[in-house]
Amino acid sequence: MKVGILSFQGSFLDHSKSISEIGFNPLLIKQSKDLDFIDALILPGGESTAMKKINEFSGLLSKLDQIIKDGIPTLTTCAGTILLAKEVIGGEETIPNIDIEITRNAYGRQTESFEGNVKFFENEDIYCFIRAPKISKILSDEVDIIAEHNDEIVGAAQKNVVALTFHPELNNDEYYLNWLYDFILEGKNVRSF
């Protein structure tokens, strides 16, 4: 299984390590020509403004948009989630693929970044939130809430897209890696499992 990881900038190498750990092949994608046949896609954390600028050179995101709409299992974390959100407070929408409203830097600056408990599907663990955005509104009933931190929505899923505001790739805990393995294999429709 080949997993494409958007590698403009950010924590793409951490995601790449997670993919290797579960026995799949990570493929770092920077330009359209890097786009081989891929079985799943990850949009990592980083700075969404920088990613959008780097995209202007390659136009890669519009190609990824089509692949996502075609139904490839897609995981996004932090800045990656901002790129796929339908509405962005404090920024602009990029390639809307999930019906959520996201608020950039919603917790404040780096000094407000934290580790916090997250209920992620059936499991509870501690994950990092780094200058994280907030999923401030769910915009359609097609969206499921899949992760919560103290009653705040920190993970949402719609069709083939799972969007998180925290960083499971910095933990690589057993539950996450098991979930990731299943998601890549069967994640065409997240609600089915």
Binding site: F8, Q9, Q31, A50, I54, R109, T111, E115, I126
Partner: protein
């Protein structure tokens, strides 16, 4: 449960900056240009290193108003510099809610023996290094990110290359060493043993390592990335050049596509004049900023 400013959260921000370009800016206008050009963070300064070098005198932490002006103008992380060992400047920056503190040799050192104990701060720290010993001592003091010192304000990449090659070679020596040799290496590099043990376990530095000091062109940025840096700082190189916005964008694209010479050639077209560089040989030992730090 919610705990702020943990070691993991501090190192985590550095992870998010990887593959990106951090640009020196002196006001809100430059900060906005940097953000628009794709910078992952900006360094708020009163004077860029080339001007600090030209002006001489004591270089201190930038004025609070300049730092706050920059913090209010952009949505990307904002860094600021404190003098080596000047923990009160660092406390002030921390209280302003700065995203990253650079304990920097570009400013005049405040302590000729000690660096700041960086564990006690909410904000993460980045520190310069010329070799593995310096890098690991800074990590032991609590740095969440390392950068090469290079030679700031010269537009000459040679020192950054020297420092990166030194760090890599020394790192490889530690990774390859027999378990019985590690104490001797700790002594040889003046490197804290616990950090060397961590390196041996991870097979790499435990923090992100950026290039800094003399990067002026897209090719310089790509060179440092090919040498194994995780990202680049560009100081005087952008706003001392003919067309800052174009050059900033080109360096951002080059840093992402560092392995693609066609892209590097394309973004380097029609860039206008780069900053005028300084040959390191013409600097006296006293003029070399990389000598600062212990």
């Amino acid at each position: 449960m919610k705990i702020e400013s943990t070691d993991k959260v501090k190192k985590g921000l550095a992870e998010m900056l990887k593959g990106g370009v951090i640009m020196d800016v002196v006001n809100a206008e430059q900060a906005k240009i940097a953000e628009k050009s794709g910078a992952v963070a900006v360094m708020a300064l009163e004077r860029i290193p080339a001007d600090i070098r030209a002006d001489g005198g004591v270089a201190r932490m930038s004025s609070v108003s300049v730092i706050q002006e920059v913090m209010e103008s952009v949505s990307i992380p904002v860094m600021a510099k404190a003098r080596i060992g000047h923990f009160v400047e660092a406390q002030m920056l921390d209280s302003l809610g700065i995203d990253f503190i650079d304990e920097s040799e570009v400013l005049t050192p405040a302590d000729e023996v000690n660096h700041i104990n960086k564990h006690n701060f909410k904000a993460p720290f980045v520190c310069g290094a010329t070799g593995l010993g310096e890098a690991t001592r800074r990590i032991a003091e609590g740095a969440s990110m390392i950068r090469t010192k290079g030679e700031a304000g010269t537009g000459n990449v040679v020192e950054a290359v020297r420092h990166m090659r030194t760090i890599t070679n020394e790192l490889n020596e530690v990774i390859a060493c027999d378990e019985h040799e590690i104490v001797a290496l700790s002594k040889k590099f003046r490197a804290p043993l616990n950090v060397l043990e961590e390196i041996k376990e991870l097979n790499k530095l435990p923090v992100v390592n950026f290039a800094a000091g003399g990067i002026a062109t897209p090719a310089d940025a790509a060179l440092m990335m090919q040498l194994g840096c995780d990202g680049v700082f560009v100081g005087s190189g952008i706003f001392k050049s003919g067309d800052p916005s174009e050059r900033a964008e080109a360096i951002v694209i080059a840093t992402t596509n560092f392995n693609d010479p066609k892209v590097l050639a394309e973004v380097s077209k029609n860039l206008g004049e780069p900053m005028v560089g300084i040959n390191i040989d013409t600097l006296s030992e006293e003029e070399k900023l990389a000598r600062r730090g212990w």
